[in-house]
Symmetry: C3
Subunit: 327 residues, 3 copies
């Protein structure tokens, strides 16, 4: 048990900037908030506070969970789509940070454009007097992986020594960001998990992320292994987390990315592959999934799947982060 | 006087699934909430509760009244347009129900697509742990007709034995759903009204709705009559409710629907027709109306019109339904 | 010190209809609300009240500040974009006023279309039972200039006898409304400022506005001067307020407006021009600015600029107006 009380006013742009004890504090508060919601207890820790949510790309879960979370905490979240603003008429990142920071008590941003998103969020944060929360950028998705870690702890108990397979999977829809696998290997290695990162060669993550994940594993007593064989990566795993992302480090554009992805259409999490993992293995996915392309219905709707509990935990961890940083 | 106390957690997808006593309870609570609003009394029955409003088709009154109602009850309503979500990227109805049901305390849906809307709402409700409210589907519009019934009771007192003319009218704008006339004949016949359903032959409603309306009338001591002469339908009526809908049961597509509708451009509620009804007759319309096509300005803005009180009552009945089901 | 207590229920469409004492009351309440926010004190003067915000044209600051302000006051603001409503399907201004006025406790409207906006807002107000607030129309922008006046008083103290330069500047983006310069010269002349209105000949304001500004100056002991030389207008000024607007009184359409504007691309507020004003002069702009076209980065980001404090004051004056009119 550990708790840090210094999170008021802090940005959450990358968990790399939060200590393990600070992360433990978020998970602890998240469980407390989850219990209070189950009991119907009021918990208006942010009464009449306001969060500006700035979306450069649409999202069901992210918007719905942040907005509902603020309302449950007694506050309000503004849903601002970049297309409805005058950002196109000349609002700079500094102006957004200065001005939204004066009107609101926090700013949350989703901006997944490759090479742009994280930089933009940092520029807004630089100019903002209030906490800036990353609702997913090109590099990180901290609230998603906090929810993932909470779910793993609820299902498996202490994650130390348990095997987590973070695998690429094929999807036809579009070239998705690498933020989820990057943040997931970074976080799970800090908590002592044996992390396998599995993907075809073109789907590599950033070098500094890989190096830090390896170093995390060394310090925590976990492990970090790179693999390129989906079946081998599944074998005897405790947690299967297989989702698609684009070959963003090698492809010049979306068309080339799609062409590369199309070489690996057999990278689907189906029942045969899921059976390679342990009988008690859990299947996770941040959703939405390309059904029967990325994952078979029988898996995502089957007994190993915990995707709805995982999605629910978005709400609880986000409320914890907001309550701790914006109070 | 009657009151049912078992509405917590209930869906309102069709009033066919609510008893007459449950409907009486809604109307009673609606009048109490209306009185409290008139007096400026706080009534935060849903403090910090959250309703997700999912719109597959835009609406002024519906969105504004549900969102304002939740705020007045101390809660919050999220305005979610389907185009801003990842529903197009693979969110199924089950995922929407599971996930929005975990983030929120209720889900309201407007989905009027013929042959699709009601089915979608039922699939979401199947997966949701919280009440699902129908903000209009292809078949029903329960909150509209609750407001209509409340308005009739406010203007006429006990509706038993009073004549209600539910008539088709011509409109040029688009092929509108049949949900209002269907729900109206179903509801009014339960309350002992003498209901005339008046339309050109192509604008029939669904067989099972007609059968149930007839059975309702038999049980309640009311009447249910099918007519195809607009003038005859108006004669000595107490309540004139004339609006357009598409010939959805016979037309293959919108173009054919428009062509059929165009045969009946003289089906307008004008002063001559309104005069055929009783001198104390009231004119109702759920709005928006095609002015001087569907109804003459002199009627909708005239002394018989109660359309603004009717629109206002949307707020009060919806607050009653939300407070009773989501508390 | 003066205070008027009769603002409950009042519209704010143009400050021409508000007395100087009423405006003083708004500024006083705004400063009180600003202090409470700085101290983190709750101030839920509009608990569970609802404002409908109707936008016919997008805006970052206006929407964000009104919505955040209502939330901080304990209420809720609905963000309604005209394109998502059925206004296109037949909702008249009267229907909007009648219906939104029944669902909400206030209606705020932004409608800047030349020759249309103010008229529309007045028609809604005519039909509404609740206060109607002008979030910018073709003629006026009252909440902006209230924030401007508050900023001037914070930076300079009593504005009496101080020189305010309201100048046109070139911008490439689009033909902007004349509402800000019109409202600014009207308001500043009431408070005894020496107002210079500076623009190329085609960018004149409306005759009755000019006449009233001159009369205001005469009564208040201020001054009102028309100039067409940007440099001369800057000389020894205390407050430089230079922004673009369209030649709306003379141009037939946007193309002609752009062609006229393009004759004056050298009308930029740069460091040389800013140096012509006093060493303690402040630079103001309602934002967003066309950077390095309308104003040089070195000026808007420089030591004379107060644009972020000015933007922040939007929040405080709007909260004051809402609390006073909607309570």
């Amino acid at each position: 048990m550990t708790m840090q009380t210094n999170l008021r006013g802090r940005d959450l742009i990358s968990l790399r900037e939060w200590t393990r004890e600070e992360i433990e504090t978020v998970l602890d508060v998240a469980m407390d908030l989850k219990r209070q919601r189950a009991l119907g207890l009021p918990h208006p820790y942010l009464r009449d506070k306001v969060l500006a949510m700035l979306f450069f790309y649409s999202s069901t879960r992210t918007r719905a969970s942040f907005e509902a979370g603020m309302a449950q905490l007694g506050g309000h979240a503004q849903f601002i789509e970049s297309r409805t603003t005058q950002i196109a008429h000349g609002d700079t990142a500094r102006e957004i940070g200065e001005i939204l920071g004066r009107y609101n008590d926090g700013i949350a941003i989703r901006h997944v454009e490759w090479g742009v998103g994280n930089q933009y969020i940092r520029e807004v944060a630089q100019a903002s007097r209030v906490p800036v929360l990353n609702m997913q950028c090109d590099l990180y998705h901290p609230h998603q992986v906090l929810a993932d870690l909470l779910t793993i702890r609820e299902k498996l108990g202490d994650p130390r020594g348990r095997t987590l397979t973070v695998s690429w999977a094929y999807a036809a829809s579009y070239q998705k960001p690498i933020s989820v696998p990057q943040d997931l290997v970074l976080l799970a290695t800090r908590f002592g998990m044996h992390v396998r990162l599995v993907h075809p060669p073109e789907f590599q993550l950033m070098d500094d992320v890989l190096a830090e994940a390896a170093e995390n594993a060394r310090r925590s007593g976990g492990a970090f292994e790179l693999m390129d064989d989906f079946d081998a990566g599944m074998r005897d795993s405790d947690v299967v987390y297989a989702k698609s992302w684009g070959p963003l480090l090698v492809a010049k554009d979306d068309a080339e990315g799609a062409a590369i992805s199309a070489r690996y259409t057999d990278w689907i999490t189906d029942e045969r592959r899921m059976a390679l993992a342990g009988p008690d293995a859990i299947y996770m996915h941040p959703l939405p999934a390309d059904r029967n392309i990325e994952v078979a219905d029988a898996v995502i709707d089957g007994p190993h799947s915990v995707v709805y509990d995982e999605a629910e935990n978005r709400l609880h961890v986000q409320k914890a982060v907001m309550a701790l940083t914006m109070a």
